[in-house]
Symmetry: C2
Subunit: 195 residues, 2 copies
DNA sequence: CCAAAAAAGATACAGTCTGTATGTATATGA
DNA sequence: TCATATACATACAGACTGTATCTTTTTTGG
């Protein structure tokens, strides 16, 4: 009889799904995945556990959805910041800075870099941001190697280790570290790869 | 009336404590911290939950004890492999290899590098192996910088990022990656720091 | 050597959480 | 408009954590 009655099914679903994801994200950031209960999530989202389990298979599934959101947002921020015309060496630095910047979104670093690997397993997580975050890095490194700008090294390990440095830098900045110092070190590591 | 009756209190404690730590370590490695229940731990250790909660404050405390064991063993392995006479640049490489080697102990990388930060929080974890693992790295880098062998960079961020690269390498090797390739990249990153 | 105290360990219980099963309301489509 | 499907709510079973209490073994002081 109210406006609510006129909502289409898609609208209803979308609304509660969004409310659940927002509530879950907040709580996972505040207290971590393990310490957050589904009763708490649905209370904040103003729905019931029935709704949650209608939209998500289990607690891990809603966490996964949150992580996918974060990964997607991060990837978009990086792509937006690095025009494809940029030559390989600068693209790496620029993209890296954009990554650090994007990771400063409150709680994102903790979610993706700390909780993510534990809850989803590293393999599952790498699938998610292989399509997103690290793809740019791997492509940049490959291009730089092809152009003879940096030493030839095994791409997988190089991407992994450099990516780990970026991740650690993001966490350090979130914990109050200086972003400039972190970037200074990252640049030194990358430029040190010139042959 | 049996031999067991003759055990001193310290022996009893030590025995069950050890049994609990062994069982817990096995299970944490097999299934992860969250998926391991205290009933399962005590069953494998052949004691009851009463004993567990007599020796440890809570589930997190027994996990912490496991991690401390691992960190200590890792630190000892590194120290044993790097004689203090070694000059800074080689000490870094040698120590790094020793670290990778030590981290290949089944499950150690996952425990310390994946589960550890989530369960204990990164700060608490860094306290534990600031005294252990990364101390060597920081000292080596400082010495190399003092000797003018590598670029002058902020020590904290440099240690953190290089440490992250080592950690990621250890995880990659545990997941079946080539240790030689990982070392090749690590050496390239370090030698790239020469000024 | 023995009784009392302390330490180690076992048992029992309350509270909370997860996931499922079942029930109800709202929207859709014939 | 009626039947069905979708969205959501409620109720329940099983499991786990941490604590409180109770028992057993060791230690210690007289």
């Amino acid at each position: 009889m109210q406006e609510k009655s006129r909502r289409t099914n898609k609208q209803r679903s979308e609304a509660t799904r969004t409310a659940l994801l927002e509530a879950a994200r907040e709580l996972f950031v505040e207290k971590g995945y393990a310490a957050t209960g589904t009763p708490e999530i649905v209370a904040r989202a103003q729905v019931t556990r029935g709704a949650l389990y209608h939209h998500f298979d289990d607690k891990a599934a809603i966490f996964t959805a949150v992580i996918e959101q974060e990964a997607k947002a991060t990837a978009e921020a990086i792509e937006a910041a690095t025009p494809p015309s940029l030559p390989p060496p600068e693209a790496l630095i620029t993209g890296g800075k954009a990554y650090l910047q994007a990771m400063q979104k409150k709680g994102r670093a903790r979610l993706v870099l700390v909780e993510g690997p534990t809850v989803l397993g590293r393999e599952r997580l790498e699938e998610i941001d292989a399509q997103n975050g690290n793809r740019t890095l791997a492509e940049g490194l490959q291009a730089a190697m092809d152009a003879g700008l940096i030493k030839k090294l095994p791409l997988g390990p190089l991407t992994a280790q450099l990516g780990a440095a970026f991740d650690r830098a993001a966490l350090a900045v979130e914990s109050g570290g200086s972003i400039d110092e972190q970037i200074e070190v990252l640049e030194a590591l990358i430029t040190g790869l010139r042959e």
